[in-house]
Symmetry: none
Subunit: 230 residues, 2 copies
């Protein structure tokens, strides 16, 4: 399984090191910055799987970083855990309402932090937790690279697999071709956006085999989405 990439935004060097150590032990790929502005850049480039965010960091406030991450389409659904000394109910509620997925107050136990990160990741990126992805009658075993529909194994090529995986991680969401190119092909691919159509078609052909209803919805002038029809 791919290593989970974490972005740690924390200006207390000692704490940052402690956290880094713990997550590296859990086989995370940890990037660290004490600076808020840099955090935004790193998040956009490296697209981490999760962000740990201190309330007060250099440059801008953590909560502002959170807000901006949520506003940029490329980073809007990266899970964020706020990590701070501010334990007032007021602050916690504000953090959560700003779009944070969890809020941990210092001092915290590293084990609990690891557990909370695990809980959030399990929810957002089940594939990283080694779990199977499912939607409607589709199951994807990310470890064994196998996809089933209604129990039957569906043969998929590499790109079709990654494409379907991305859809399964965000069922129901509509993705533009550009966003799919970013997510499935990588940020630096200079690929014609119409090419996505072709891969969608190949994925459809493979997964709808045998009169199964089409599980991919075309949203005209917007993109594609996984959709069971409900």
């Amino acid at each position: 399984m791919a290593r989970a990439r974490m972005l740690l935004v924390e200006d207390d060097a000692a704490l940052a090191e402690l956290v880094t150590w713990h997550f590296k032990r859990e086989d995370f790929d940890v990037k660290h910055t004490p600076d808020g502005e840099e955090a935004l850049l790193l998040a956009k480039e490296a697209t981490p799987d999760i962000v740990l965010l201190d309330w007060m960091v250099e440059g801008i406030s953590g909560i502002e970083v959170c807000r901006r991450l949520r506003r940029m389409p490329e980073t809007a659904n990266i899970p964020i855990i706020m990590l701070t000394a501010r334990g007032e109910e007021e602050d916690r509620v504000r953090g959560l309402e700003t779009g944070a997925d969890d809020y941990v107050t210092k001092p915290f136990s590293p084990r609990e932090l690891v557990a909370r990160v695990g809980a959030v990741l399990r929810r957002v990126r089940p594939a990283l937790a080694g779990e199977a992805l499912t939607y409607a009658d589709i199951e994807m075993d990310t470890v064994g690279h196998k996809v089933r529909r209604g129990g039957e194994v569906v043969p998929l090529g590499p790109t079709e697999f990654r494409l379907l995986k991305h859809f399964l991680e965000h069922p129901g969401w509509v993705f533009s071709r550009e966003r799919l190119l970013d997510a499935v092909w990588g940020h630096d691919s200079d690929i014609e956006s119409r090419t996505v159509d072709v891969h969608i078609r190949r994925l459809r052909k493979a997964i709808n085999r045998g009169d199964k209803p089409d599980i991919i919805r075309t949203v005209r002038s917007a993109g594609y989405a996984l959709d069971s029809g409900a």
Copy 2:
């Protein structure tokens, strides 16, 4: 908008009432049981959108309930928040590792609990967390590009979608044709203002399908507005 359904498993009657009150105020549909076995049945039948689970409930332990919910395919994806007096790190980590999405220790602040429920739901069901635009019996899932009226999916073209979205963002407001052209078509569109009429008509036709009352009000010599009549 569809109300979020919550299953509350808690044997402290007073606390249950408190929690129920707070979430009803947030327009949740709350079902309550003090019994673990019954909780499993209810979860399978009613498929709630979220489960609040006390650590110790009658019948079986909360953590066992959690484990079993995760094992049943029908309930495996329902988010669970553990809700308990056991504040030991050991317990919190165990709860999270068992599959809980969050772990809140008593005594907790109702506001924070509401915020945490919101954070989890935002992740799992964006449409339920207020990320959907709603007015009267109309819901628009902006992420999934889907519109429902009274639960039924309404097919809309791109322009109709943007038009309705603009109305939903300012319910009740009357917009002149020029204003709608600016907002929906863009400031630099040299389009005949009467064209708006046609799109209003198309939107009406699509969204009033099936003898539903007209939700768009024509204001003579002023423009159009979203209006349920109340």
